[in-house]
Amino acid sequence: MTTATLVLTRVRIRGRLGLVLRVVLVLAALALVAYPLFYGGDVWAQRISRAAIYAVIGLSINTLTGHAGQISLGHQAFVGIGAFSAAFMASQLAAPLGFGLAAAALAGTVTALLVGMVALRVTGLYLTLVTLAFGLTAETTIFNWREFTGGGAGAFAPRPALVETDFAYAVLCLGVLALVLYVDWRLVSTKTGRALAAVRNNEDIAATLGVNVTGYKLGAFCFSGLVAGLAGGLFAYWNQVVQALDFEFQVALVWVLMTVVGGLRSRLGVIIASSFFALLPLTLPNFLSGLPWQPPFLNEAVYHVLPPFIVVVMLLLVLRFFPGGIGQLLAPVTRRGGPKGAKR
């Protein structure tokens, strides 16, 4: 496997052939989304929305972990706060969808700012511990705050008429994904991206180069919180009801691992891996119960634990054999003029 990967990544595709390949790849990817969207009915429109929401979450984690080198194990809290804010705006204040999504993004940003201001002052990965504790607190305290979240029954987020159909909503989700992709691309290819790379590689050296280390880490975390909140808002209108159960601790772990499997700093890889893990819990039970031979140990609990199990196995394989994740496997086609060596 290692050798195959190495051979693949050493293939250099240059010039016109590379351009043609990239165009074909993009068209193929668009066709892959468009076909089920137009011909798959509501079921597939819903699934594509879910995949797009997961991809936005993956990109949010990619900003923090891939660009800034920090880890959040409490991202379910940011997504959840976004979702509940959007639902609060929609059901309690009857605000339009745009305000709901804006409130979700704002809530995610402010929460990230408050948590990050304390946790990112300290060198090292303390943000991991703080977000982990914050995620549990959000799950048990904030999401159980009856006036805000509606308690156990959940908060409702009815869709407005314009995006009421699943098809229209999928288009909206894909639009938001495209927007986040664009911002991420601009972020990386400007001064901010280079500063974050310096911070990620060595905080001390970055500081001597005049980079405001804490500021950039905090900025990256706030942007990550903004995108996570936005994804939460999209989730609220997608499901039309938000419950605390949707944002348990284990979900956040799966999100972080799926982003690493997709490949840190590889936008396409993150989108592919996120879509895969968005659809896995929906399609896996159908697939397994459709098998001609039923293994005796399969039951509801196993379906629940299989996606995390699969993501971990993929993670360990990825870290061992191609640390750049799916993005590294795609490198021969996506990078013109040969790959830049996969960095861990």
Binding site: V122, L129, W145, L257, F297, A301, V305, V311, R344
Partner: protein, 289 residues
Amino acid sequence: MGAFFALGLFQGAVYGLLAVGIVLVYKAKRVFNFAQGEFGGVAAFCAFGLTVALGLPYWVGVVGGLAAAVAMGLVVERVVVRPLESSSRTIMLVALVGVALFAVAVTVLAAEPVPRVMPPIVEGGTVDILGAGILPQQLILLAVLAVLAAAMAWFFKTDLGLAVLASSQDLRAAQVVGISPTAVSRLVWGLAALLGGIAGLLYAPVGIFTPGFMTFTMLVPAFAAAVLGGMTSLPGAFIGGLAIGVVQNLGIYLLGQQLAVPGAAELGVFALLMLVLLIRPQGLFGKAV
């Protein structure tokens, strides 16, 4: 209130025990060991299988559980930690999160995710301390924590412990004076897994246990305990563990019972962690950073 204080003190013993393992790995490798709780989870499930399911004597279960934990530690060291030695700490941390999630998933797949009851080491009624009923098992837990924290503090004074510290500070220089990095790595992970296994075996009989019980409920307070203690201090882990247990239970008493705030225990731990990082990021016993 006194009862909550006593309950917290004894609840804190298990956090302290996990924190001792976390501090050991942090001193040696400068990485937060997210798999520490699952060493205990695996040990508890193996011991349960041997004693309750197969009906073997209790000591066989204890030895088997600890052996399983150490084996898991060594496998993690060989399969996950050592190949990633040269990668960034971010990636190492993600990998350890993966290990914990993997262990939980395997436990669920191998054993039904139902609550189980592990028999305690010493049968018998509760002892009254400050109005709280404390099990003999919890007294043993606190005593073991005190002994192990002292033993680990002593370990870092011995030649072996100094070798661990030396390779942590400068791997190349340690190699030059004849310290094998591989041996040190195995020692650290085996020892950490043993500590985690002891924590799991001692804590499982205190209540009911389910797959992932050590990771999903114990690990966060244990990390908070290690941070409060200063991340590199073993007396700090001991005191930090007890302090977190007390704060958690006072949180339940003051916020949960008096003000009816949901999730008071988690809120207490989070607030304390934020306070420590805000006021004294080096912890109680750590050196200034």
